[in-house]
Symmetry: C2
Subunit: 174 residues, 2 copies
Amino acid sequence: MSEVLNTIKSRRSTRSFKSDMLPSDIINSIVEAGTYAANGRGMQSPIIIAVTNKELRDKLSAMNAKIMGKTDFDPFYGAPVVLIVLADKARPTYVYDGSLVIGNLMLAAEACGVGSCWIHRAKEEFESEEGKAILKSIGIEGDYEGIGHCVIGYKNTEPSKQVPRKDNYVYYID
Amino acid sequence: MSEVLNTIKSRRSTRSFKSDMLPSDIINSIVEAGTYAANGRGMQSPIIIAVTNKELRDKLSAMNAKIMGKTDFDPFYGAPVVLIVLADKARPTYVYDGSLVIGNLMLAAEACGVGSCWIHRAKEEFESEEGKAILKSIGIEGDYEGIGHCVIGYKNTEPSKQVPRKDNYVYYID
């Protein structure tokens, strides 16, 4: 099963994507992997919104850039697919739960030969009136917090070189 | 690369472990996978404390049970190895960063045929004077928050059956 360890070690975040849309079966496989993340008490607190609609993708990008204080910048690095992960604040483990979903999405993407990157500021995005309106229009009710976006698409660049792990990352007490 | 997707889908949390110690090369492989988790701005905010020392393992178990309000209970389910993940609060992404480390640890364990479970209450554990004293005795300084424990060991039970994913886990906007 060393493919799992190899994928974990070789995965790098992608920050330049081709605009080509991914086949839906690949998107579905990646999204499905996200839904199988561990979660507190098996309550499955997260949800995933898989956005391939260009209009909504561009709107989210603009909202995200605005939160960054930037304009004329695409925080999604050209990725055609945005997987938004939110989690139900009623569960005390919701931030951990949602993070594990994004971890699975990134590894599954790598396993499918697809680039990925965690993009932050989902919290601020879905606390805004504009963000709340998007959730409502999809029929999502309840007290969800944005955990992050996992943007995916074909890599437009070679992955950057792996940075060495820091000293003192691990302490062994035996 | 479907081994990655299969491992993600088939992984289940283990809640009964054999007391047999894991070989150190397996522990090292799992821990190394943890260090390669994605993290905000590549700042590697988390640290991992790999505890195989029985005295400390039992002390942590008792501290954790006390936070739960239980006694005569082992929240680590008999696992001989406790991988504590903490992360540097100076990084705004530290909770997400630490969660991804634990996600990698759980998947790497599964890939190695080893059971794992995320055990919570690390935050409270290392906010206590007793917890702070443990960190200090190891030489860990700085403002670290406990994100979680990943306990690992050989499985003592068959994995529980996979629960179906909830309805409305995923929304597609195309």
